[in-house]
Subunit: 228 residues, 2 copies
DNA sequence: TGCACTATGCGATCCTGTTCGCATGACGAG
DNA sequence: CTCGTCATGCGAACAGGATCGCATAGTGCA
């Protein structure tokens, strides 16, 4: 049922191109995988990530807890799947609605809004994704970092186009700027995930930080550029 | 032996001012606490945070694993103690060596260097501190976030002084800028902690991001400030 | 039909952070 | 001396993520 194009990163499934023809078992496996992901998603939303026991997820998916590991390498991966899907969706929506001729600041704002809408739905997405990056060597960490890279890449693209169009200062390091913007959004979400500020406060915090950044990015007549 | 001024946040110790005079037991308790922290520190450095079992820490400290919880509220707290101590030290060193008349960019650079030297010693410090913030509601999370706030406050102070002295543009939002700088440093350390870049690469990444930021902070003759 | 192969599932088990109830022993009050 | 109080310590137990060895059952091949 899922779109056939992406390899759909199941654990065993991705390991090797199927040497034998599509097995009846493989069909069952795909169905199980879908049930697991559905059950996990429901439970995560109902009781939160930490309170959702693997045994409970398994029960809802109609199987034992240990069987889940036939399809998933860790509990966190279950949420990262979700995150990846939503992220993909947010990117595509941005690309659809993006007006390449709009001012760069405006394009970035739109992108961050999409990003914010994505993550503000569920603090767990932020929390667990971040937590995943604190387990170096784990597969999940790499998956999340890959998402980071793609986000930075997208921002870089926007900034680079801004430079081409003389919308941004030509002296500016677009990659550093893209990273800075991304880092700000990531880290600014931490207080929100901890309930210290609400979603709107978080958004504003990000916006004002990006404002500060853009003060230095926008092309303007300036005498020199790197004065101490 | 530790300086008497800070309340030395042991779990039970801090809970209430001792109603009865200093007990022999309290002395024993303090000694145990010291042994635990020492043992934990050693083991963390030897095998890393995750591989250091509480049972192993307890054994090295000469007590059972469960007894540790008389002095500490969670394993993570053991490392946050460390972090807090080192952080305090780094702040003090910065304050000692800081020349308030130096250019603001330079002062910030010095501060970030101290900060980097502090954290580059041990990836676990970054990793676990970050992980702690992904457990909302946990005591450790609040402790780490308090450290964040103090760091941001210090940066704010430096930037504010820069504004006063006309070193920085008066229109700039110093708090937003301080937050932005801090967020960049925090988040930029994630790829390093995951082994994707080395310590030097991480430092450079931070520096260039801050460079971009300062392009907009430095006071310069500019026509308007909030052009689209 | 029999055999090798392998994806899926299961229950038992492991590991480790954390909690619980109880024991010990130092202290002050009566 | 005795009793209540309380900080400390202990071992058992719990919880939940992860691993292991075994069973089941499709599939292709001879």
């Amino acid at each position: 049922m899922t779109s056939p194009t992406p390899p759909e990163g199941g654990a065993a499934e991705r390991s090797r191109r199927p040497l034998r023809r599509d097995d009846g078992r493989l069909v069952r496996g795909r169905r199980s995988r879908a049930r697991i992901r559905a059950a996990a998603g429901e439970l995560f939303r109902e009781v939160g990530f930490d309170a959702a026991t693997l045994r409970a997820i398994g029960a809802r998916a109609g199987m034992g807890a240990s069987s889940i590991y036939r399809h998933v390498r860790s509990k966190e991966e279950l949420l990262v799947f979700d995150l990846r899907d939503r992220q993909e969706e947010a990117w595509q929506r941005f690309r659809r609605e993006d007006d390449k001729r709009a001012p760069t600041r405006e394009r970035v704002r739109k992108f961050l809004e999409a990003q914010h809408a994505l993550l503000a739905e569920d603090p767990d997405l932020t929390t667990i994704a971040l937590r995943a990056t604190t387990h170096p060597g784990a597969r999940v960490a790499r998956q999340v970092l890959a998402l980071h890279d793609r986000t930075i890449g997208l921002l870089f693209e926007v900034l680079q186009q801004g430079k081409m169009r003389r919308d941004l200062d030509r002296e500016v390091d677009a990659m550093a700027a893209a990273r800075a913007i991304f880092h700000v959004t990531t880290s600014a979400r931490i207080p929100w995930a901890n309930g210290l500020v609400d979603a709107e406060g978080c958004r504003i915090s990000i916006e004002s930080a990006v404002d500060v950044l853009f003060r230095g990015l926008l092309a303007q007549p300036r005498p020199t550029h790197n004065g101490v």
